[in-house]
């Protein structure tokens, strides 16, 4: 798993994702994020890397 920035244009990605969420209610946002998780997970592919990402996500909330 990499945590140094890999995204070519981080602001652009953040903005595109925000745009998608702008007009959605909580449930639709959750559905969108869930679909996105599965789509992005498939881009990564490797189970060990995915497990590390899940662990990081689980421990990063406040």
């Amino acid at each position: 798993m990499k945590t140094e920035n890999q995204i070519t244009d981080p602001d652009r990605f953040y903005d595109e994702l925000s745009t998608l969420h702008a007009s959605l209610n909580a449930e639709s946002s959750a559905d969108l994020n869930a679909r996105l998780v599965l789509i992005l997970a498939n881009q990564i592919g490797d189970n060990s890397v995915l497990s590390e990402c899940l662990a990081l996500a689980a421990s990063s909330g406040n």
Binding site: E27, A30, D31, A34, R35, V37, L38, I39, N42
Partner: protein, 534 residues
């Protein structure tokens, strides 16, 4: 009180005979099999094929546990290959329904996922055959009786047991009274609530789950494709899962997922179930309920499938949720793993330590089955909004995208386990498909036809010298052309074995690979793990 359903089946009744030991001393026997279900009868048939006498005791005098219930119905290719070796496959193929296509639907008819398991191996057997469990047990009993090597004792129930280091004492109840058997080896195949296992005080770590299913066998004439259909969220079942399978005799098996902790008596009431089936089939098709039964999930697992001179197979050793049809299949494959080992040990051709490999191979298989079945249960019973949301995402993406389809989990069907942590099949241990072989004589046989002798099967890629330790086993030189023991002109046999030019592949009688090598010392060491040879 309870409504009787006419199943229309007449199950056989086997004769009870007064055991000779009732009038005298305890009987001394080599092998006792306790329980005449799938595991016990598969083992008994296998020992019969191998010429090894045994006594099988069963507390009942028929097949099927609760009348003509379908119970385990999906038999995977590996199990079918085992039945081919035992000589009942042709009967099963005539009676049952072979299938390879499965579909997962959403709502009424939206197909979100489909697979066709055909063509993945070159086995002579299909990917799956559906048939009611009592038919398999019935045919196995008749085969065992036909072979006449072992003894089947009906209405004999194990009341008590004492396990010693070199013998097991069994106390057995019959309609005429109680007697004792002293056995060199006992194989307990008496199921989930095994009295023998309880009497030995062995821990299974049982856990009851909240999952409930209603299983129904339904006879109707609606023309449906001979495929396995599953719904994750069926509109006729309160958006819970439904499985629909064809079986023998135009009877279909329909499983309904019920609410967690549902009252099992209520969900399996015939009128309640009838209403559910009517919603699924529609009003225009008359149907009759052949059998209804509830299922409550539980798991258990023995710490060791061997305890002194007692070995455990099937549900007595391991239980997990029925999703994916791994229970019956793994009991059959436990018996398959054990039969040839027990035969060699009893004949003095193998060290007793070979039987420890049974536990070291089949217990990991049971753990694997439990893991996969549990994952299916979790997919089908999301416990939080977040889990429901995740499942919705997978289903939304599945119709168009392969990666999401792979996550739709209504049960992962049984496939043969690879014994990668086995002390005897390290680095190998995968199962070979039951391929057709063309022999030098011109005749064609199946791989299982070579696996009935109490010997290893040795395949060489071309002319390769084999070590002394393997000289008395069945040796086949494989190549393209009629001068070879196996004429592999299409290369399918070599592909199935993973056999390359100059290599030797040794296959066990259960068709799992023992070793693959061209190094004489590796081949010899692997052989010595299994056989008592110089």
């Amino acid at each position: 009180m309870t409504e009787q359903i006419e199943s229309g089946y007449e199950l056989p009744v086997f004769p009870y005979k007064r055991p000779p030991e009732l009038s005298g001393l305890p009987g001394q026997v080599s092998i006792v099999i306790v329980g005449g279900g799938l595991a016990g009868l598969t083992l008994a048939a296998d020992l019969s094929i191998r010429g090894i006498p045994f006594v099988l005791v069963d507390e009942d005098d028929t097949v099927g546990v609760r009348g003509a219930s379908s119970r385990g119905i999906v038999y995977a290719q590996k199990s079918l290959e085992i039945f081919a070796r035992l000589g009942i496959y042709d009967r099963l193929a005539q009676k049952g329904v072979a299938w390879s296509v499965g579909r997962s639907l959403r709502g009424d008819r939206d197909v979100i996922y489909e697979f066709d398991a055909a063509g993945q191996t070159h086995s002579e057997q299909p990917p799956f055959l559906n048939i009611q469990q009592f038919y398999i047990e019935w045919y196995l009993v008749e085969r065992i009786m036909e072979l006449g090597v072992g003894e089947l004792r009906w209405k004999n129930k194990v009341a008590h047991a004492e396990a010693h280091d070199d013998v097991t004492h069994l106390v057995i109840d019959t309609p005429d009274g109680r007697y004792e058997l002293h056995a060199d080896w006992v194989v307990d195949c008496s199921g989930l609530a095994s009295n023998l296992r309880e009497k030995l005080g062995l821990q299974t770590h049982p856990e009851k789950g909240t999952e409930r299913w209603c299983i129904s066998d339904v006879r109707f004439k609606k023309e449906l494709p001979l495929e396995r259909w599953t719904w994750v969220e069926s509109p006729v079942n309160n958006n819970r899962a439904v499985w629909q399978h064809p079986m023998a005799d135009g009877v279909w098996r329909i499983d309904f997922q019920m609410e967690l902790d549902a009252d099992v008596d209520y969900i399996s009431r015939p009128d309640v179930c009838t209403e559910r089936v009517r919603r699924l089939l529609g009003d225009e098709f008359p149907f009759e309920l052949v059998w209804v039964g509830p299922w409550a999930s539980r798991t258990h697992l023995l710490d060791n499938f061997r305890h002194k001179r007692v070995l455990f197979a099937g549900d007595s050793a391991h239980v997990f949720p029925p999703l994916g049809g791994r229970g019956g299949n793994s009991g059959i494959q436990d018996a398959d793993n054990l039969g040839w080992k027990l035969a060699l040990v009893v004949k003095g051709k193998a060290p007793v330590s070979l039987l420890d490999s049974y536990n070291l191979e089949r217990r990991p298989a049971a753990i694997h089955n439990t893991l996969l079945a549990t994952r299916s249960v979790r997919f089908l019973s999301p416990v939080s909004a977040g889990q429901r949301c995740l499942r919705r995402a997978a289903m939304d993406l599945a119709r168009r995208h392969d990666f999401a389809r792979k996550m739709i989990n209504t049960g992962r069907l049984s496939d043969p386990f690879r014994y990668q942590d086995s002390p005897i099949s390290a680095d190998a241990g995968e199962s070979v498909a039951n391929v057709t072989l063309q022999l030098k004589t011109g005749s064609r046989v199946a791989l299982v036809d070579l696996a009935r002798a109490n010997q290893l099967l040795v395949f060489t890629g071309g002319d390769v010298a084999i070590p002394e330790a393997l000289k008395d086993q069945q040796v086949f030189r494989v190549g393209a052309g009629t001068r070879w023991d196996i004429n592999d002109h299409e290369g399918l046999v070599s592909a199935a074995l993973g056999l390359q030019e100059g290599m030797v592949v040794v296959v066990r009688p259960d068709l799992h690979i023992l070793v693959r090598s061209n190094d004489a010392s590796i081949l010899t060491r692997a052989t010595r793990n299994v056989l008592l040879v110089e």
